[in-house]
């Protein structure tokens, strides 16, 4: 006895508009790049700006991915996320400075080894910090947004101030490792080597993250948890443990983003995380809170737009992102790839 529908199933066709709706945000990135070309005119400047916009976008994505997943999973909004960015930057840069011999050498291998060590140290420290932050600051206020915001802001201040205590009140300047200085020229456009590296790291991370989310059981649990946490629990998974894991991973990624951003700006300050939070929030909101793919697209849009506008009209760079956010929220009030919560 089978009761398969004897007519041909039709929903695959019906969802075409649905699929187009999902594809639309992805198309926005090339559209913006083309618009940038039109507005800027000069191909070489455009190429340079596009690369640096992509690099910036990748770094913002790395910082934002943890925040958006943490929100998606447990409805926790962490205003202290920026602290991990700053701490990551300070730890990473300290390691780089300590490894001055390696970064100063004209050897790509040594340079990369130094960066790798810096990144590992930064991620270890921010991951551990994230773990503590979750236990001490976030856990007591599950389910209470108001308190979450207040308490995590408090955590942000305390960590930021501790950076001053540990590393002193001044900003720290940092030179990029020898082999990452300078630019390569392509089609008349100068592209900084470091930015190309940042684009590469960002892409690899995004793909890896997608693979984990799509292909592994943990990834399945995370995605299911974002959509309907109580049901994941009812199937027998301990969502809290998964959540703590995601929180730690997200904090470590913020730390990585901090190191990368520090090397990008070649200067770090305790307040840098707090400043980045503005962009991180914009990215998480326009992407759709809880959506990693949305955050990725959002980050690229923000990075590109910021660079194009900074070239055309420097003073309007940050405001352009507010305008972008406004436009996207008018189009899709829940963000580009909204996460529909089961209720």
């Amino acid at each position: 006895m089978t009761l398969a529908p004897d007519h041909k199933p039709t929903f695959a066709n019906l969802s075409l508009t649905d699929r187009l709706g999902k594809a639309m945000p992805v198309i926005l990135v090339p559209i913006l790049i083309v618009l940038g070309f039109v507005a800027i005119g000069a191909p070489s400047s455009w190429l340079t700006l596009t690369v640096s916009g992509l690099a910036m976008g990748m770094m913002i994505f790395i910082m934002a991915s943890g925040l958006t997943l943490v929100f998606g999973l447990m409805d926790v909004i962490n205003f202290g996320h920026g602290a991990f960015i700053s701490v990551g930057a300070f730890v990473g840069v300290s390691v780089l400075i300590a490894l001055g011999d390696w970064t100063g050498a004209a050897s790509l291998l040594l340079n990369m080894a130094a960066i790798l060590l810096a990144v590992v140290a930064a991620m270890a420290v921010t991951g551990a910090l994230g773990w503590g932050f979750e236990r001490v600051i976030v856990k007591p206020v599950y389910g209470a947004h108001l308190k979450q915001i207040l308490v995590t802001v408090g955590g942000l201040i305390v960590i930021e101030q501790l950076i001053y205590v540990i590393w002193g009140p001044d900003e720290i300047f940092i030179n990029r490792p020898e082999m990452l200085k300078g630019a390569v020229t392509f089609a008349g456009a100068a592209m900084e080597k470091y930015r190309l590296l940042a684009v590469g790291i960002g892409l690899v991370l995004f793909i890896a993250m997608r693979m984990v989310l799509r292909r592994t059981k943990i990834g399945l649990i995370v995605r299911a948890g974002v959509e309907n946490g109580p049901m994941v629990e009812a199937l027998g998974y301990r969502l809290r443990i998964v959540f703590v894991g995601v929180f730690i991973a997200g904090s470590a990624l913020a730390g990585l983003g901090g190191v990368m951003w520090g090397l990008y700006q070649e200067v770090i300050t305790a307040g840098m995380g707090e400043e980045m939070m503005v962009l991180v929030f914009i990215v998480a909101i326009i992407g759709g809170l809880g959506s990693v793919e949305g955050a990725f697209i959002g980050a690229l849009l923000v990075g590109l737009l910021q660079n194009y506008v900074a070239f055309l009209e420097p003073k309007l760079a940050l405001v352009s992102n507010i305008a972008l956010m406004t436009t996207i929220l008018m189009w899709r009030p829940q963000g580009m790839l909204p996460v529909v919560k089961a209720k």
Binding site: L146, V151, G154, L156, Y164, F281, I285, K315, V319, I322
Partner: protein
Amino acid sequence: MIVKLLSGDQPRSVLLTLLLLVTLVCLAGAPFLFDGVRALDTAARICIFIVLAASYDLLLGYGGIVSFAHTMFFGLGAYGVALASSHMGRGFDALLVGSVSGTVAAIILALLIGLFSLRVRAIFFAMITLAVASALAVLVSQFSGLTGGEDGLTYKIPRALTSANRMGEFMGTQISGKILNYYLVFTAALILFLLLLRIVNSPFGRVLQAIRENDFRAEAIGYRVIWYRTMATCLSAAVAALAGSLFAIWLRYVGPDTTLSFEIMLDILLMVVIGGMGTMYGAVIGATLFILAQTYLQNLMGSASEATSALPLVPDLLNPDRWLMWLGVLFILSVYFFPTGIVGRLRERRAS
């Protein structure tokens, strides 16, 4: 009569009543009770921050909405007065035009942000206000031609309100325009505070609290939740802008650090949380304690830091520049262990 002035919302605790009375008397008589410019300046700041914190309480305590743009509205009022005074020249008309246009700008901006972010989910509001406020702060420092950038603006206010205006002696104190200025600030602050008290005790305020408790249910009963929340945002922005105007009139200087910075935003948050959210009187107690601590406790930290200079790390932690860190710790602890704030505690004591 007094009950009516307070809109029927009495302090409901003997100790609290006493504290409020002492605060009121000290502020009302500040020019005569305390010596020195610093004391008067502190009193004026307390008046202004009481209004600012109370207007924030309308949003946070009564509406359950977290905003990070409150300093932006405060700044709009302040820059309104500053810009009007620098462009129109000194005069009361400039003060009026500046205050009104700053307030109107604040209301419009609040309306836009509110309609935008509150429509979707309340949590957007916190994030979006943070983004918008920091964008505005960046704009202010970038358009330095207009705003004076990081340096801010210094301008003249009517002579009648400055110390150059000497009006004789009273009770052994020189009465100058400065004191007149103080009473302008004091009176305006008192009126604004009573107005806020009236708002939160009106039917509007009660609906707002019902929404805070359960927005879903309030919507089901038929209240337009977005409308009430946006309205609260606009009202609180307007009062914050007026507080900003008072601040500008008092200081004769406006800069990003004193009006727009994130740090001031944190100060306001702390005042409201420590004083007691959703009580209005909490803003009075919180702002007063906070400003006093800020003015006098930082010195203490300095001496403590010096006294412990032999120890490792401790002097760094006690450095007056780390003032903010202790505020942060205090903030977290009060949200956890002290969620009803000082006013809440005082009232509980009476109840038990």
